[in-house]
Structure formats: C-alpha cells, structure tokens
C-alpha cells in the first residue's frame, strides 16, 4: 500500500506552487512545474527542477485543463500530482482521472472531495457526525416563491451560498425579503461562471460570528488528528485577509470540543490527508459547522509556525500510504502566529484588484518572519488569476509580540509598482479592537465603514511632503543638467559636505 513518491507535478502557480516546490526540494523529491504563457518566467518555474508549458494564459486553457496536466505528468515520469489550492484542488473528476492514470493525487479520495465539495451533502455528513449546523434549506431556483417563504421562516438576514462554492464566490448576504430574488440570481450566475454549477442554498446569517477552522490530518489507516484552530475572521468580500493561530478567544476546553467535532466529520467522510473543517462561532461561543475544505489552505503557515509541523511534508507522508508518526498528544501549540495575505488590490477602493509590474520588491526577513511569495522583482501581476501575490507570516512568543513583529515586517516589506494590502495590514495592526482580540467576520465593515485605512499623522504627512519635494527637485535638476544618470545625484554629493551637522545633532 505504501509507495515512495519521487517526483511530483505541481498543478498550480504563484506562491502555493513555490511552497510545494520548496517542500519537494526539502524532502529530496523532484519537482515539476507547469506554466501558462504569461507565467513563462514566473518564480515557480524558476525554482522547480523541471518545467513544462501547458497553454495560453487563461486558466481555462492551461491550469484547469485536466488532460494537459496529466499528459505532462505521465510524459515526465511524475508519480504524483499536488494540486495546491484553487484551480483543480477540489475537483473530484480531476482527482479520479489522476487515479485512473496511475498517478497519486495528493489529497483525499475523489469520492470524499465530491461529497464534501457539495455544501449541501457536506451539511448532511456534518449532521450525521453530530456537528451543530446553522438553520437553513436547499431549494429549486425555478421555485423562488416557496424558497422565499422558507427564508422568511429562517429569518433575515440570510446568506445565499453556492453549493459548489468556496472563496466567497457565489455568496450573498440578504437583509430584506425584497432583495432575495436578485441575490439568488446574482449568486447563481457567479457560481455558474466560477464553478460551472449554479446551485445555491440558503442559511441563517450569523450577524457577528467568528470564523474559526480546525486543521485536520488523516492517514490511510484510520488515524486522524487535529492541529488546533486558526481564526480567520478578518475578511473582505467573504475572503480571508488576516489569519492567526491560536484564536484569541479559544479556551482549552472549547479547542478540545471543536477539535473532536472536526475529527468526527473527517472520520465520517473517510477523509485522507490534510484538510480544514470550518466553523462559525457566535458571540456566546456556540459553534456551527460551515464546510470542509478538502485541500491545503492558504493560511496553513500559521499552523506550521505554532505546531512546528510541516503540513506539506505530512501530505507527502500520508499520500505514500504511511501511517501518521504523530499522535494528538504530540500537537502542542507554541506561541502565536499571524498571516497577512498580500493581495494586488487597492484597499481604499474597496479592495479592487490592481495590476502592474513590481518595480521594487524586497521581502522582510530576520527572526520570526516567514514569507511565501510567488513573485520576484520585475514580475508582472497578470489579470488572469487570483490577485494574491504573497503571504507574510510572523511568529511571536505571544499574540502581542506577533502583532509587534507583524508591524515591523510590514514596514520592512518594500513593494512598488502595484497597489497592495500591505498598508492595510499595517493599519489593522494598530487597531485597538484587533489588539483586544475582539474579532468577527464583520470587523472590517464595522471598524472601517468608509474603506479608509490610514495611520497618517502630521509627522508622517510632513515626511511624505518633504520626500516628494526632494524627489521632484532632483528630477527637475536632472533634466536641467542632464547629470546624475547613475542613481546618486548631485544633491547627495554636495550634501555630504554638510553631514557633520547630523552627527553634532544641531538643527
């Protein structure tokens, strides 16, 4: 049953492809990257052992084409495929095709993916496994009137969700009955476009819940354990932007209860590999099953930083058919970790995606700082894919130290040419409600109703003004004198004569 994996094709791009390639190299497994037209010189291509072109830039013509990926895997002699997250990660048809082609799909069995990927079926599994679920119902989109009556019974606000959904796509909050029909239509259309499956269902919408999820890990021999929780309440457009481990609201007792629930649904569904069981937790600490993500999560580094366990290495281990070498008692949470998702988005413009070329790119480093980046200097941010370009994760002995280190690392991050969420994260790290750990999925809309994220004070405004004036002065002078082509300007050379005044401290 156990077979050693020697070569893995990574059916993904960006930071997660880089992450998996690094894990391969760390375990002496040959890594194979695939790339679309616009990813020809992407970082994941550069650091892989092998790299193969699979088609034009739109993912529907490259990263999503089952046959191309399987063909490359077979022709280059890979014995396994790691799907990362997104793209084909939760596609049971693709997983089955891998199995049929004799390739190890690094993830749960195709039938488990299919079962848990359908949010409606997953709800039934959760109920069977004894997990609490939110009130809700499914319905036929052609029978809106009866659905509307059921919605009235559940009580507004309600949440419309895509059955095949994930990542906030095909999701809408409905506050009043007269918004119901339009929300259903939009959500269904978005779900069709994103997942090729327009089915939607309705759940009671919790007004100020926390999003708390448990990392699970199961082998092929019936062993299953959890690696503690992650709090992912800071969201925009129902998508996570800041995640942490542990949750500031968690108690050891609740962790044991919720962790056991997570393990129960994993067992009930015959889960294999790494996965995540998501819950909503209400202000009274009651919790409700949300969904199971049958893949590695974006936010897995915070769990790795706090448990010391390399989740991708564990995925490899389990996929080889080996027994888990860890037991639940081995899982000890040490310190606190926070992850910041660096999106090419403009927070001040409602997190509208931005594109461009990275003119300057310098990542933070030093103790307690981990960067998982899919880009390098001069990288272009393509319009075709998810706008997340990197993840910054920090570790501290306690939550406050992690916050301070996060501030430091965010300020060290130098990225120019594309508007990102770095400044947004820096702002949130000074937010007292965040510092107090008083989180909910409505945090951003409550704390920043006008999308204005700023820490500007008069001192920083003055520095920005002076910097702009000096920059302009030098550029004007350069044009006038046609000097200063080599970076260092006449300004500097002259100014050096004055430097002793800085030492003397006079002003």
């Amino acid at each position: 049953m156990s077979r050693q994996i020697k070569k893995i094709l990574i059916a993904n791009r960006g930071e997660i492809a880089v992450r998996v390639i690094r894990a391969c190299r760390d375990q002496e497994i040959t890594s194979v990257a695939v790339f679309s037209e616009c990813d020809r010189s992407a970082y994941h291509v550069r650091i892989a052992d092998e790299a193969y072109y699979i088609g034009p830039s739109p993912s529907s013509e490259s990263y999503l084409v089952h046959e191309k990926i399987i063909e490359v895997a077979l022709s280059c002699g890979a014995d396994a495929i790691h799907p990362g997250y997104g793209f084909l990660a939760e596609n049971s048809v693709f997983a089955q095709k891998c199995v049929d082609a004799g390739l190890t799909f690094i993830g749960p069995k195709p039938e488990t993916i299919a079962l848990l990927g359908d949010k409606l079926q997953a709800r039934q599994v959760a109920i069977k496994a004894g997990l609490p679920v939110t009130p809700g119902f499914e319905f036929d989109i052609d029978n809106l009137e009866s659905a509307k009556r059921e919605a009235d019974k559940v009580g507004y606000p309600i949440l419309v969700k895509a059955a095949a959904g994930g990542g906030g796509k095909g999701m809408r909050v409905v506050h009043k009955p007269d918004e119901f029909a339009e929300a259903i239509t939009t959500a269904s259309r978005e779900a069709t476009s994103a997942f090729g499956d327009g089915r939607v269902y309705v759940e009671k919408y919790l007004v100020r819940p926390r999003h708390i999820e448990f990392q699970i890990l199961c082998d092929q021999h019936g062993n299953c354990l959890h690696l503690g929780e992650r709090e992912c309440s800071i969201q925009r457009r129902h998508q996570k932007v800041i995640e942490e481990c542990p949750s500031p609201m968690m108690t050891p007792e609740l962790r044991e209860t919720m962790g056991a629930a997570a393990v129960n649904i994993a067992r009930e569904s015959g889960y294999i590999g790494a996965g995540t069981v998501e819950f909503l937790v209400d202000e009274d600490h009651s919790f409700y099953f949300l969904e199971v993500n049958t893949r590695l999560q974006v936010e897995h580094p915070v769990t790795e930083l706090v448990t010391g366990i390399d989740l991708i290495k564990q995925q490899f281990h389990v996929a080889e058919g080996k027994r888990l070498s860890l037991t639940q008692d081995d899982i000890v949470l040490n310190g606190h970790a926070i992850e910041y998702r660096i999106y090419a988005e403009d927070p001040q413009a409602g997190f509208m995606p931005s594109t461009g070329t990275l003119k300057n790119y310098r990542i933070p480093a030093g103790p307690g700082v981990r960067v998982d980046s899919g880009v390098v200097i001069h990288s272009e941010i393509p319009i075709y894919y998810d706008p997340m370009i990197a993840k910054l994760s920090v570790w501290g002995q306690d939550r406050m130290e992690a916050i301070r280190r996060g501030r430091r690392a965010l300020e060290e991050y130098r990225l120019a040419g594309v508007t990102t969420t770095i400044g947004f994260h820096r702002v949130v790290m000074d937010n007292q409600t965040f510092i107090d750990g008083n989180l909910s999925t409505r945090f951003l809309e409550e704390e920043y109703p006008d999308n204005k994220y700023s820490l500007l004070n008069d001192s920083l405004k003055q520095k920005a003004a002076i910097a702009t004036a000096i920059d302009r002065f030098v550029k004007e002078r350069r044009i006038m004198t046609q000097q200063g082509k080599q970076g260092e300007s006449g300004w500097l050379r002259r100014h050096r004569a004055d430097t002793v005044k800085h030492f003397s401290g006079s002003k």
Partner: protein, 170 residues
C-alpha cells in the same frame, strides 16, 4: 531655489529647497528642516529628517501633480505643484489641482456584465453604474458623485482593457 506646494491628505506644505548658499536648505511651512537625502536609484531615496530615518519610494510621473509615496509600509497619495502656479490657480478660483474625472475608465481588464444607466440619466453618488467581472469577481462600479450621464461606451458582454473609457459624465 525651488518652491513647491505639497498637499498630503488635508494638509498643505509650503516647501522651499534652496541651494544658493552652496549647501542645501529645506524650509517647510516656515520651519528650517535638518534633512539629508540619499538617492538609491529610480524613485527611491533614504530620507533622514531631524534624525528620523525613512526609506521612501516616490511613484508617479516626474511632471504630474499626483504622486504616491511609499513610506513605512504605507502608500500615501500626495499632490505636488509649483508654489507660484498653485497660488495663481487658487486666485483664479480653479479649485483643486486634480482634474475632475468626467470619464469612468476601467481600472483593469474585465468583462461588462451589466450596464445599469443610460445617457441623459441623472445619477447620485453611490448609485451603481456598471457591473464588471474582473479576476473572477463581480465588481459594481458606483458613481463617485452626483451627475448626468453623457454617454455610455460599453454594452453587456464587452471585453474591456485597462484604461478603456466605459462612461462619460456631462
């Protein structure tokens, strides 16, 4: 000597940079500033003001008034003008230096899913104008102020590129 009017957020800074004495002097709102700047290439520089160290990246065209300053992890929008021209403009009652945006242009490539307004229609701030799919997300483009639609350049199903004009206000 050069004299600028720099606006950051709500604050105006009246800045002179003077080289006539042979050394560089900066005056900001009538205060002498002890500043040292080292250029690091392109638009990046290291600024030390009163001993405080800031690595800054000033982005934008060298002639435009709108610049973005990257400083301590923040992207700060800044307006810079020649001081005397700014005074002239103010006297002439021309309002802000920033051009009033009459055109609604695409911030990124995408697909028009819905056009919610017609030429001649009067819209109020916040009213949805267009629904655009970009990066697999539906984005609702809303009016930033009150106005009357002059023309609509796109229809449902159009693919648009970054910078394409989608709507025009009167």
């Amino acid at each position: 000597m050069r004299h600028y009017l720099v606006t950051v957020d709500d604050k105006e800074y009246n800045i002179t940079i003077d080289t006539r004495s042979g050394s560089y002097r900066i005056n900001c709102n009538d205060q002498e500033i002890s500043a040292d700047a080292t250029f690091l290439g392109e638009s990046r520089s290291l600024l030390i003001v009163d001993g405080h160290s800031y690595e800054v990246d000033v982005r934008g065209n060298g002639y435009d008034s709108s610049q973005v300053v990257l400083l301590r992890g923040m992207e700060i929008p800044v307006q810079i003008e020649d001081y005397n021209l700014a005074q002239l403009r103010k006297t002439a009652g021309m309002g802000s230096a920033a051009k009033i945006q009459k055109d609604v242009r695409a911030a990124m490539p995408g697909l028009i899913l819905e056009v919610k307004v017609k030429p001649g229609e009067h819209v109020v701030a916040g009213q949805p104008l267009l629904v655009v799919e970009a990066m697999k997300m539906e984005n609702i483009i809303k009016a930033v102020g009150d106005g009357v639609i002059k023309s609509v350049a796109v229809t449902k199903g159009d693919s648009i590129d970054k910078g394409d004009k989608m709507l025009e206000f009167e």
